[in-house]
Symmetry: D2
Subunit: 283 residues, 4 copies
């Protein structure tokens, strides 16, 4: 019985880069975690332990820092494009490169109401994400932006009713529930020349505002509306992909204590959670 | 060989409460994780499995929700006082009660620049903490407020030099380094009548602003200054306790690549970290 | 500008099931976290908030428990097959169902050297995984088994040398390094009638033994060998897929202290890590 | 308004050490995360930024590796004693030192049924812990050993009944429930000359066996019995301290589906959890 190597890739993950750009007294700060994955002519390493064409993952790590040093860039996406192009351009043996970047949301600390030139506070669990895929030397990169773990909640204007009834249903219809979720969304750019940082903020604002004002009949419907508004707001993107966990807030049963539930006392939960996805494109 | 029970306590931890207060169209949202620990006359349960005086932890959990339902409160601290007093007041067999609360920092989503009445976004890893300890029925509670995982960074105005030299030292003096930390601080209130929510915001602002503007000669010095400014800003507190991890940003060695480090390219790290504490009191 | 819904799915995730089977005095324990994702005729919920065909994720959760109650099964895979078939069989509006299961590795506690009939200890981070995909009512399920976070390390018999040299390389060749990783592997079954629990143990043993004895010239080569041995050992599987992080142990630089590195003192690290993949099939 | 520095300490945390001892073909592997905290004459650093007596936390980190290199030791406790003594012995300005060590439980991989000389597999979340406190130069260290996150479960032989009844109680008596917990225990040694590794294994076995066979009337009672048996088994320890979360398995309500609960179908939960402590001494 023999076996064959049908696919392979490798790279370095969680390369942690801090870059400070000093523009006079004003400093700009970017902190990324970078993953690089390469495909190419690497099967001899798997089959025979012949590593001669393998770029050590340590060298890939070094490259992340050197490319950050030698270039100016305005966003994680712009850095991702530089880095993802580098590998197939520099190495004959590399076919494709995928660069994934996770970016912390550092914001300037306000001192007496004014943003400080070099001190920052972190917005927390929410991160900006992007992925740049260069399929082959000379081919245009495929660029995705995204947001992960953007936690939101609305305490009303959300219903869940008229759904399928059968033996397995125990949940009652409700016209007024809490809707909490942690938004993970990715979107694909249709152009290389976008102002990516500006697009990210515009999409994020569209997602937040639509979540807030939409009269929700279900996670599915609100998710579709969020995608539709984001696509309308930012022509630079072609599509948007969502995965929304429904982080249930369960009414606490006050009956045994002679008290009445008035939309006020809930148990917040992490699990189990409804897990809803959609892929929405421009028509 | 015999053994004895020298101390014991028990309770329920991570009780997850969502409370919505509906003030017309404006909703107020609080989400807490609550821990309750009791001491008292419970040794028969340990020694003989005699549970007759033991309040089930499930009943403790129910109490959290019922007290939340039956009372109005303006802050986690005010809720903690109500809850911590409840146990020694209601149960003869309870001596002391300790209530620990962790509160998520939900902020209103802005829609067209205005805070939305019922939709919120979460500021992330940072949480507000408080602990209320009632040592005995009728005794005044001991109240601590706090902040946990408030992540901050400054890219300059921070030195680390002239420290002890011996065989184990390899670190060089630096006059300009990045200073990043995740602030965990707790403070003790000297009064029961504080506006706790306002105090929390004032202390948080004092910590952030002092971190930003202080010309730092070391984590120790900046920590002491942060405490001094907080104590001056908020007379309601008696002392403040810090634990600051020094989340090192390490200059990336660019020499092998013929490039020069200019305070620009760093490796951000989680570990190992300097771990600095201080307890600062009003004189 | 209009948008369209190009794809969608939904379900319930992290449904936590404990099942105890009582066979006289001997109890059998299984603890699963179950994810269910469905596709089908659900676009009206997204487009119009019309939920009439939507099975609530709460009902999906109930189904997990009811199917566990009403059936006997010998492994997570067998339970997954029952559950994944249920949805397209029971609901006209469901097209495909995907069931993902994560299973804790409970082992019997030994008392005086003998396995206890009803007390268990957990093997920890390592979990057994499986995925069952039913593409359509009546179609045979696609079954994957797997292992996640199986942590292993070998302190010698591992080299990394003769790799590509260029401007970005700083790492030296080594003939003797530590090789540590956390094995995540999935494999596809070629039959519905396997004894899945037995196959899982046989593959796990093949992975562990091959890791231990293989003279490693690189993660890539050892990974390929592990796959080859697993395929040879268990004819019931068609292919195996690996993702191995290289959890680097970095020699600590003892030079400044006048001491010599002798393959003895290392820094263990989580990040950055080499990240190596392969997909290996039977020829 | 002035402030004063009432207490302070500092050190380095999460220093990650791998030590390999090569005894011919047989290798011994230890992996520790080490925290060091010092007190002493360090207030000038806080008050004036005068760092001249401060040992940089980077130097503390170096010391961990150098002490590991220059000494032989048989357990984390023995290493902790060496390291905790070093600081007050070597530095005039250091008063006390506390060393906390967390140790991974690597076990040898079995190849053809025999333990392999240099390949290991990790038992998972469970870790061995120890703390060594040297209060002052020349004083004997205070040594604690421990275990953390030792997950256990028993499916029967556990009751919870006859507890306090009042308005807040909704839980019914049960004579047969699942009892699951994650054992965290620490114990204090009464001697410096113990075989610490052997003691750790004996206490761990006593905890596991007692958990398995004890007819439990409550977590409190079983915890006390576990402590009593451990104290009897290992004369080298003076006391034992427990914190046991009650990781509830909640019977799933099968009534709506016309099915009967037979001690078989449960929801496993992380939160909220009963949180029970005891401190048990030798009489």
């Amino acid at each position: 019985m023999a076996s064959k190597l049908s696919a392979n890739s490798y790279g370095k993950s969680d390369v942690r880069l801090t870059k400070v750009v000093r523009e006079g007294k004003t400093h700009h700060l970017a902190e990324y975690s970078v993953n690089v994955q390469l495909t190419g002519d690497f099967s001899p390493a798997y089959l025979d332990g012949d590593n001669r064409k393998v770029i050590a993952t340590d060298s890939i790590k070094n490259t992340v820092y050197v490319v950050a040093k030698e270039n100016k860039f305005a966003s994680a996406e712009d850095f991702g494009i530089l880095l993802a192009n580098h590998f197939p351009n520099f190495y004959k043996q590399v076919k494709s490169a995928t660069v994934e970047i996770t970016e912390a949301r550092w914001k300037r600390i306000k001192v007496k109401g004014k943003p400080h030139p070099h001190a920052f506070v972190n917005g927390g669990t929410e991160v900006h994400t992007c992925t740049v895929f260069v399929p082959k030397k000379g081919k245009p990169p495929v660029i995705h932006g995204g947001v992960r773990d953007l936690q939101v909640i609305k305490t009303t204007n959300s219903a869940w009713k008229d759904f399928w009834t059968d033996r397995y249903r125990t949940l009652k219809d409700t016209s007024d529930r809490i809707f909490g979720t942690s938004v993970t969304a990715t979107w694909e750019y249709g152009t290389l020349d976008a102002d990516f940082a500006k697009c990210t903020e515009a999409i994020r604002a569209a997602l937040l505002e639509t979540f807030a004002v939409h009269p929700s009949l279900g996670v599915q419907q609100t998710m579709y509306e969020m995608g539709t508004v984001a696509l309308a707001a930012v022509p630079e993107i072609k599509n948007i992909n969502f995965r929304l966990p429904n982080k249930h807030r369960i009414p606490f049963n006050l009956d045994p204590f002679g008290l009445k539930f008035e939309g006020d006392i809930f148990v917040w939960t992490d699990e189990p959670y409804g897990d809803i996805t959609a892929f929405i494109e421009r028509e």
